[in-house]
């Protein structure tokens, strides 16, 4: 147990909306250990961001959170006051969001913003803060770092701003980094550079990382563990290689068949598809919420209970189909 940094069990989020009660996160659980990367993946709207905001205590004011367990570094964080949560955030738990422009303050210099996080969390001198800022800017690949301290966010490119965000997230030596679509707005070469950098830093500092993305290519390349989310629930989870080699849930399988892969999918060949859209999560929900998009759905799916089928080594999926019905199937089945 000593390596576990974060443990979450049965986390739910409810948000009252005009049409009734929205249930965007419905009983999610996961854990992250030192040096480990957990990827949470799924289409947009499946509840990934709200899951991470719930962990960080940053949910919208109207949202209600409940969990059987939320332990960070052995401490129950469910009942922490906002001031105590704020001490954790940016300190031992830090985050990186998709759009660095919204998290960097346009009217302060890079140097001031980096130092501020440090001085707020670590009681140290300004000189120490400045040294650490320069050290980390260099680490994240920003050239002539010392002279950049006086620059403002708008003077940097998108990729450089994301590097600054990463440096800021590292200022206080966090144990856990939560990165929500950190490269989604960036060009592919810069995306690869940033992900490469994150993986290196994580290894070097032995941090735990939760990386949230809709991109299965990213997941395959960076995850140790994968959690596939659909309609606020985990539909499949397991070690990265296992999930990609032998995906069991029809949703995971379907998403994988949609991706064009140079060298594997032929030009002009039809790609697989997952027809339909994520269902509305307002009101009473029951059964498998994927059933209206699933090729294998039967009447029984409407009454399915959340009882994951466990395959060993942590691989589990929640679907009524038995493993022997699934595993014999060709991976790239033709869609009709």
């Amino acid at each position: 147990m000593s390596g576990t940094i974060l443990e979450v069990e049965n986390l739910s989020v409810d948000i009252p909306v005009a049409a009734g009660m929205l249930h965007p996160v419905r009983g999610i659980g996961f854990s992250v250990s030192r040096g480990e990367t957990l990827c949470i993946v799924g289409e947009s709207g499946c509840g990934k961001s709200l899951t991470s905001l719930a962990v960080m205590g940053l949910l919208p004011k109207t949202a209600r959170r409940s969990a059987d367990r939320m332990e960070f570094l052995g401490r129950d964080i469910r009942s922490l006051r906002e001031r105590e949560m704020a001490r954790l955030r940016g300190g031992s738990m830090s985050m990186i969001f998709q759009e660095p422009m919204t998290s960097l303050n346009p009217s302060y210099t890079i140097g001031n913003q980096l130092a501020e996080v440090y001085l707020r969390h670590v009681e140290q001198s300004r000189a120490a803060a400045r040294d650490r800022a320069v050290f980390l800017l260099e680490k994240v690949g920003i050239s002539s770092a010392a002279s950049r301290l006086g620059q403002y966010p708008h003077q940097l490119s998108g990729g450089q701003r994301q590097r600054v965000m990463i440096a800021m997230a590292l200022m206080c030596g966090p144990e856990l980094i939560i990165a929500d679509e950190p490269t989604t707005a960036l060009d592919v070469t810069i995306q690869a550079q940033i992900l490469h950098l994150l993986a290196e830093l994580q290894r070097e500092f032995r941090m735990g990382m939760i990386l949230i993305t809709h991109d299965l290519g990213i997941v395959a390349r960076v995850a140790d563990k994968v959690q596939v989310m659909y309609a606020g629930k985990t539909v499949e989870e397991g070690p990265c290689e296992t999930v990609f080699d032998a995906p069991m849930h029809p949703y995971t399988q379907g998403l994988l068949r949609c991706i064009p892969i140079p060298g594997r999918t032929q030009r002009g060949e039809r790609l697989g598809s997952v027809p339909g859209i994520v269902p509305n999560l307002v009101g009473e929900l029951s059964g498998c919420m994927f059933r209206n998009r699933c090729d294998y759905a039967s009447d029984a799916c409407a009454g399915m209970r959340d009882e994951p089928t466990r395959m060993g080594d942590g691989h589990a999926y929640t679907c009524l189909r038995a493993p022997e019905e699934i595993s014999g199937e060709p991976q790239a089945a033709e869609t009709p």
Binding site: V188, E269, I277
Partner: protein, 323 residues
């Protein structure tokens, strides 16, 4: 050998310069968004145009659509100079599909009104037929006819992109310019739109320019690929050639950055520098040199000249050789 037929669409040494304000009292400076580009789009083919944001792809699209006048150079429609065509004639031949179906569809108009818009603007056919034509187009793009009376906000992202495709095709164009048609969509929706674009190409004999920053998408769709960097096409070849034998260091970095869902591979090191060029004040020599892992002394001072090797064009000193 018979002479090759004229391309459906072609640019000849097209340049597009924008004057960019430098702030109060500091005047403006020229920005060469497109800098001497010659590109052929043969009839019935899919040409892919890839490159990072800001390299000039959308400016190229706008020039081809007749929405942006080039500063110099010419656009040829089936071999004839754009100068001889009216806006309406261009619109009949070439229609766009843009990235974000949210912002490119007017939220206050019904789907019927949006899809029939090109017919109204260019007064094509009798107004009494428009509604029927909209219905047919909705069938073609796989939308139920009842969405005709809906508004964009009532549709999903994928449905909105189908509306944009219906609007483009209602003019029965020869060429469709797809500017990042799936970049804002989830993969599950992207695959449906790509399949639809393939089907429509067969059904209507369309020609596509497919602009994308996603090389996997381009490889899946395109017969020929052009790679753009800071307003220039730095490499161009048949799709298979480009993917099997990428030459320009930028093309190689782009290919290396495609993260296929392979759990046994990590994130590759692109070996690219992190320095970003300012398009208003581009680096001397090869504009890619500050990021290039193969940069040589000559690259810092001399711009490379295009070199062609059996239809595989590369603009890089590594392949310049002797003239």
């Amino acid at each position: 050998m018979t002479e090759a037929p004229a391309a459906a669409l072609e640019t000849v040494d097209v340049t597009c310069v924008f004057q960019v304000s430098q702030g109060l009292l500091r005047g403006s400076k020229p920005l060469r968004a497109v800098n001497g580009v010659s590109l052929k789009i043969p009839r019935g083919q899919v040409v892919g145009l890839v490159g990072e944001s800001g390299c000039g792809k959308s400016t190229m699209a706008n020039i081809l659509l007749g929405l942006q006048r080039p500063s110099s150079g010419d656009v040829l429609y089936a071999g004839n100079s754009a100068a001889g065509f009216s806006r309406r004639e261009i619109a009949r031949r070439i229609q766009p599909i843009f990235q974000d179906p949210y912002s490119s569809l007017n939220p206050t108009k019904t789907i019927e009104s949006i899809v029939s818009q090109p017919l109204r603007i260019h007064s094509v056919g009798a107004p009494s037929e428009w509604s029927a034509r909209v219905g047919e187009m909705l069938d073609v793009v796989g939308l139920p006819r009842r969405v005709a009376s809906s508004y964009p906000s009532q549709l999903s992202g994928g449905q909105r992109q189908r509306v944009a495709i219906a609007r483009a095709l209602i003019m029965r164009p020869e060429v469709v310019i797809c500017d990042e048609p799936t970049s804002a969509l989830d993969v599950s929706v992207q695959s449906q739109i790509l399949n639809l674009l393939q089907d429509l190409k067969e059904e209507f004999g369309l020609t596509y320019l497919l602009i994308s920053h996603n090389l996997a998408v381009v490889q899946h769709m395109a017969d020929r690929v052009a790679v753009m960097y800071l307003g220039r096409i730095v490499e161009e070849a048949d799709s298979d050639t480009l993917f099997n034998d990428p030459r320009h260091p930028y093309t190689r970095a782009l290919l290396g950055s495609v993260l296929t869902p392979d759990p046994r591979l990590g994130v590759p090191d692109t070996h690219l520098g992190a320095v970003f060029p300012n398009p208003i004040d581009p680096p001397p020599g090869c504009t890619f040199h500050p990021r290039c892992p193969d940069c040589m002394a000559i690259c810092r001072s001399e711009p490379p000249r295009p070199a062609s090797d059996g239809g595989h064009n590369t603009e890089c000193h590594l392949y310049g050789g002797a003239p």
